[in-house]
């Protein structure tokens, strides 16, 4: 693959999403061809963002400025990228598979007659590998088009931390593409976080497999054994109303990397895995010995959480 590679840097509240640096690792592994990082934002934030990107990656950075880019907006992103990338086809565009990335990538790809392969987690013999059926099966997908858009699954590559180069070029251009059909209002003030995942050494998480909201007491009892712990949950548990979404860990929730992660009754869907796979040690407790979570776990315990946790607490107190 010798076509130029573009990497989309995504940011909010003045901070680059860390998944951007994972995409840098992915792109470096993909091919040695010419690479450029693109970042869109206001004139106020771009100098800082472009400098950080250039210093941390050694890759040329193209910043596109516009006052209407204070908040992410699919319409403007699509219009700007179509214009600046239009003259470089065929190309490969790599984007973090986060809510902003998969919001605009497929539509932009369609507008540019490119293929779009989402949540790529591996590359095998030129095909892009992605999970289907909650990770039970992996599909190998090949593009039929000269230009290819790839959204990269968070957690599948380590953030790039390699040497940077002093020859990096930073260019900032202005684009006049204010949205016509969209008014972006930006991030809503979120409810005060009462869960401090970052301070926790141990995170104990509940999946649908705990069976009943009453059984959350076991999860709380287990977490209470550790001096610095927090309680997490899968999206399914939050959707069922058993826990609030603030507890959600995974691609649409919080990404965590505690010393120890204890997954209780969690099957191991990739959306959850991508939010916790960088944990130091992963302990999985599940009744199904074939559950996907055991492929990611350091220690696997085939037990019913609801009986095992009381046993564990009893043994600990003995």
């Amino acid at each position: 693959m010798s076509t130029p590679i573009y990497i989309m840097a995504l940011h909010a509240r003045g901070k680059i999403f860390p998944e951007t640096y994972e995409v840098v690792s992915f792109a470096r592994e993909l091919a040695s061809s010419q690479k450029t990082i693109i970042v869109l934002g206001t004139e106020q934030v771009l100098p800082g963002l472009t400098r950080e990107l250039a210093e941390r990656t050694g890759i040329d950075v193209l910043g596109v400025a516009g006052e209407y880019l204070e908040h992410y907006c699919a319409e403007s992103y699509t219009a700007i990228l179509k214009e600046i990338l239009g003259s470089s086809v065929p190309l490969t565009l790599c984007i973090p598979h986060i809510a902003m990335g998969y919001d605009f990538a497929p539509g932009l790809a369609a507008a540019m007659h490119a293929s779009c392969i989402t949540s790529v987690e591996d590359v095998h013999e030129g095909a892009f590998v992605r999970a289907m059926f909650s990770g039970k099966i992996r599909a190998h997908i090949r593009p039929n088009t000269p230009s290819v858009f790839l959204t990269v699954l968070p957690g599948a590559w380590k953030p790039y931390t390699g040497e940077s180069s002093s020859k990096t070029r930073v260019t900032i251009v202005y684009a006049d593409k204010p949205p016509v059909s969209t008014r972006a209002h930006g991030l809503k003030a979120s409810s005060p976080a009462d869960i401090s995942f970052a301070d926790a050494d141990v995170i104990v998480s509940a999946g649908r497999g705990i069976g009943h909201p009453q059984n959350l007491s076991h999860i709380k009892d287990l977490a209470a054994l550790f001096p610095k712990s927090a309680i997490g949950a899968t999206r399914a548990v939050c959707d069922l109303g058993w826990m609030s979404y603030r507890h959600q860990i995974g691609s649409t929730g919080t990404s965590v990397s505690p010393k120890v992660y204890i997954a209780c009754g969690i099957s191991g869907a990739i959306q959850h895995i991508s939010g916790m796979c960088n944990s130091g040690v992963i302990i999985a407790i599940n009744t199904d010995p074939y559950a996907a979570i055991f492929r990611y776990a350091t220690y696997c315990i085939v037990e019913d959480v609801n009986t095992f946790v009381p046993t564990l607490i009893k043994e600990y107190r003995m």
Binding site: S115, G253, V281, Y299, I301
Partner: protein
């Protein structure tokens, strides 16, 4: 107010599927049961709630796929949808999202919809693409992972909150017509009422045969199972043995 909801039929459980010997196709075991994609149930429920708010509003449900998907369209009628549309499509292995979107677009283009809703993704191939491509083909605005919507018919716009990482939300207003991909948890999908179940039995589905062949932009070349080599250490013995071993391992890492 005319709403279209795109629903997909998926296997109920990943336990009843496997890969064929050529590693090219998914085999559905005899025990495989198909049902509506859960994310689409949230989209359907949201459409029905919008219909309740605006008098005269109607909701169509559409599905692309082989004959068996008609059952899923009937499920949508049982939930209360006004009209069901089936676009026959026989690709057994992989229908790429651009091809699927173009089949839907062919129906949606001239049918005067104000709003098209999809689930945020399908549970089977998890691509998160069809809604956005459909919007691009129609040149409509689009928002994904929608957790809240408020339609303003006078202004022909909809205020949306979409979910981003960490459960945070992003607000935006987009003009109608628009495509929204609905995130799970936005509502609690209803169970079919008896009257709607009986009503659905009297309804015929509209079959829309595609006029042109869907053009695929990507091809599935192989299927594989995840690397089994990554399996961790299974703790052995009785429950109490496993508990003691786990306590030892946690001590070793100084967290307990």
């Amino acid at each position: 107010m005319k709403i279209l909801v795109c629903v997909k039929q998926v296997p109920d459980s990943a336990e009843t599927i496997c890969i064929d010997d050529a590693a090219q196709s998914i085999l559905y075991k005899e025990s495989c049961v198909f049902r509506m994609n859960r994310y689409d149930e949230f989209a359907l429920e949201e459409a029905l709630r919008i219909r309740e708010r605006f008098s005269g509003a109607t909701v169509d449900a559409l599905s692309v796929g082989p004959d068996r998907v008609r059952k899923t369209i009937y499920k949508a009628l049982e939930m209360g949808v006004d009209h069901g549309i089936h676009i026959p499509e026989e690709s057994v292995d992989y229908l790429d999202p651009a091809a699927r979107a173009s089949l839907i677009e062919e129906h949606a283009r001239d049918n005067g919809y104000d709003l098209i809703l999809t689930g945020v993704m399908a549970e089977d191939d998890m691509e998160c693409q069809v809604g956005q491509i459909l919007a691009a083909l129609l040149s409509w605005p689009c928002a994904t992972s929608v957790m809240h919507q408020e339609i303003d018919l006078e202004k022909r716009s909809v205020y949306i909150e979409r979910e981003i990482e960490g459960g945070a939300r992003e607000g935006l207003t987009i003009s109608l017509p628009a495509v929204l991909s609905i995130q799970s948890g936005i509502n609690r999908p209803r169970y079919p009422s008896l009257s709607n179940v009986l009503r659905a039995r009297t309804l015929e589905l509209e079959t829309v045969n595609p006029a042109r062949e869907a053009r695929a932009v990507q091809t599935m070349t192989a299927l594989s199972y995840p690397d089994a080599g990554a399996t961790g250490t299974f703790l052995e013995g009785t429950s109490a043995d496993k508990a003691r071993e786990l306590i030892r391992l946690l001590h070793e890492r100084s967290v307990l």
